[in-house]
């Protein structure tokens, strides 16, 4: 079994996979192209390099130093966010920004400039990166920051692994008083109600995110706001994750299981407020390793778009399009993005909102739906998230990323990916 991405879609394998575990070593001489592979938590093909070489950056998994005065952690780029949490939560520190899974590497988090439930307060992950070292195929090494090699810093944050290999990075952790999160849940019906209660929640809470049922006639959902507990224990009591051991031959996710799930999920008894451990709050899906196997051998897609603030109508149109199609799954997430800009040239978030949901791979039917959604997203001035994408056209990607040409100047001539070949086709 070759290295795959999270969506498990059919892809041509890399010609070679190499462990990369020595940060002072030069990049290998290879005939074809190179790409760093983090932990394969991207859904599509940004972390794949069919016919080329994948460098398994997870081998660079060492912490280098930590300054308890200011929370600055220097670590190799293959360190997992989960490793950081395991070591630092008990000492009262937390990630400045975290995606919905903790099994991603620091290098992967920078290369996709990931966002979390606190985007409206903290911006993207890249805003909390102080420095990193970029190793290029010509043997050069650059320490990049906002002030040093600033243009390389900007190109590499959200740079999809194409500017070279990051060997180490310095990020700034934030203080927490307890490992719990105080959560407030509110049901909503209709998009207008979502925006109304969300605006209120964003003013008061550090974290907000909504689960949304796209199959209902009128979209409905649950807004989950949270803040780090102001007291309590720092002890880590997360359970060991279960694992779905094998891929069933067919998808276990279909229209029937979906409607039943969504109905039950919306109507489940829901405490208005509660304090929960940070793991189930931030990483509800990490409790089952390899849940992606649920979708069977054909794999699945995630569709994640960002829309500018004014584009509520477009959001409504997208949700209707999905409801009518009868496709789309229970993992639909709606979140607003704040105004804080990212330092990255190709960073995905823009001030407005983002919708993400999974789709079983039903072949051309699914792809046709995505094309319809793209048209709405494009007309509204939005874009799609490369970390989740396996199918957008090169034209769409270039058209929706105004700094594409500027970025292209910084690509390492030896580096490429399946995504990039598509994006430039």
């Amino acid at each position: 079994m070759a290295l795959t991405s999270w969506g498990q879609l059919p892809a041509s394998p890399a010609a070679e996979e190499r462990w990369w575990d020595e940060r002072s070593a030069p990049l290998p001489e290879v005939g074809g192209t190179l790409l760093a592979y983090g932990n394969g938590r991207s859904y599509g093909d940004v972390c794949l390099n069919g016919g080329g070489t994948l460098l398994r950056g997870r081998g660079l998994w060492h912490f280098i130093s930590f300054d308890p005065e200011n929370g600055r952690l220097v670590c190799e780029a293959g360190v997992l966010l989960a490793d950081i949490l395991d070591v630092f939560v008990p000492r009262g520190w937390f990630l400045p920004v975290t995606p919905g899974t903790r099994f991603v590497t620091v290098g992967g988090a920078i290369a996709n400039d990931v966002h979390g439930k606190n985007h409206h307060r903290a911006g993207t992950f890249g805003r909390h990166v102080r420095r990193f070292e970029l190793l290029r195929s010509d043997g050069s090494r650059r320490v990049c920051s906002l002030t040093e090699n600033a243009e390389w810093f900007a190109a590499t944050i959200g740079g999809l692994g194409l500017t070279g290999l990051m060997t180490w990075a310095e990020i700034e952790l934030r203080r927490i008083a307890g490992s719990g999160v105080a959560v407030e849940n509110r049901r909503f019906t209709g998009i207008d109600e979502f925006f109304a209660i969300n605006a209120e929640a964003e003013a008061r809470h550090e974290y907000t995110v909504a689960w949304i049922d796209c199959l209902a006639n009128t979209p409905r959902g649950i807004l989950m706001a949270g803040d780090h507990a102001e007291s309590g224990s720092l002890a880590d009591v997360a359970k060991r994750p279960l694992s779905l051991p094998a891929t069933p031959p067919i998808s276990l996710v279909n229209g029937l299981t979906l409607r039943a799930f969504n109905f039950a999920y919306f109507h489940r008894p829901l405490p208005a407020t509660a304090v929960v451990h940070y793991v189930p709050y931030f990483y509800p899906l990490d409790g089952i390793l390899h849940w992606n196997r649920l979708y069977g051998r054909k794999g699945f897609y995630q569709y994640q778009c960002a829309l500018p603030s004014g584009a509520r109508d477009a959001l409504g149109e997208i949700l209707r399009g999905i409801a009518v199609s009868g496709q789309g799954s229970f993992l639909a997430v709606l979140k607003t993005f704040g105004e804080i800009p990212s330092p990255g040239l190709l960073s995905f978030p823009l001030p407005g909102m983002t919708l993400a949901l999974d789709f079983s791979n039903s072949g051309s039917e699914t792809l046709a739906l995505f094309d319809r959604l793209d048209a709405i997203v494009g007309a509204a001035g939005g874009r799609l998230y490369p970390a989740k994408d396996a199918r957008m056209s090169g034209r769409f990607f270039r058209g929706s990323n105004p700094r594409f040409d500027e970025f292209a100047n910084f690509i390492d001539p030896k580096f490429s990916s399946d995504f990039w070949r598509r994006a430039t086709a």
């Binding site: 079994m1 190499r18 575990d21 940060r23 060492h62 280098i64 952690l73 670590c75 070591v87 051991p245």
Partner: protein
């Protein structure tokens, strides 16, 4: 706080174990053959919370260096509670078949050097009347197969040797643990295709710490390998010899 020596500390499995021990605030002494690599790992376990970290560069095949290494470890740690022996190589079986020299060298690295270290540590812990020696063997040591019997023979020797040592030290309160991992996704096995049976180094590390805590004798990691190896061990030799394994 426990005082822990790790030989082969740069192994992926040992590194994961070191980080777990470090975040529990234990004292560590790391032995491997690449000094620069040991410094990298020492930095990692320091950040992870180790009470203290010492390093020592040594090739495990240099048996004459073992006593000095052990002395340095005890000095740095201020005693010794646990020793993990993790180093190893995965021989090129085909190349071994053509070279007696290579075969003996691989038996040396995976077998004799481990026997030498276990002898020293057994003596040391026996006198102390406490302590744990944990050694990473392999499921490959349970039965000889054409695809890797040089490695298997070395690991099998280690398994038998530890059985005897365990028998000798049981009455002295010393734990002798044989760890038998199945397939683990580490640099050692980078060339193999990975399937559902493959475990991550940290899973094995967690299992090792658990087994030491529970004073176990022999553990298969992950646990399902015990069942697989029971079946494999019970296939009659007349049948087994014809199988392509």
């Amino acid at each position: 706080m426990q005082k822990i020596l790790i030989v082969g500390a740069a192994s992926a499995i040992a590194e994961a174990a070191a980080r777990r021990w470090a975040s529990g605030g234990n004292a560590l002494f790391l032995v491997g053959r690449n000094a620069a690599r040991l410094e990298t790992i020492a930095g990692d376990v320091r950040v992870s919370g180790a009470a203290s970290v010492g390093v020592f560069a040594m090739d495990a095949n240099e048996v004459a260096a073992h006593p000095a290494m052990l002395q340095a470890a005890e000095k740095s740690l201020g005693g010794l509670d646990i020793a993990l022996i993790a180093h190893g190589t995965l021989p090129d079986q085909k190349a071994c078949e053509r070279s007696v020299e290579l075969t003996l060298r691989e038996i040396g690295t995976n077998g004799l050097s481990v026997v030498a270290l276990a002898t020293l540590l057994g003596e040391r812990f026996g006198k102390q009347g406490s302590g744990s020696v944990a050694v990473i063997g392999s499921v490959a040591g349970d039965r000889g197969r054409q695809s890797n019997y040089v490695y298997g023979a070395a690991k099998g020797m280690v398994g038998l040797f530890l059985q005897g040592l365990r028998n000798r030290l049981a009455s002295k309160g010393v734990q002798v643990l044989t760890v038998k991992p199945g397939f683990v996704d580490t640099p050692m096995t980078a060339a193999f295709k990975k399937g559902a049976l493959w475990a991550q180094p940290d899973d094995i590390a967690a299992g090792i710490l658990r087994a030491i805590g529970k004073k176990r004798d022999v553990v298969y990691l992950p646990g399902f390998w015990r069942a697989i190896m029971t079946v494999i061990r019970h296939i009659p030799e007349s049948v087994f010899k014809k199988m392509s394994l």
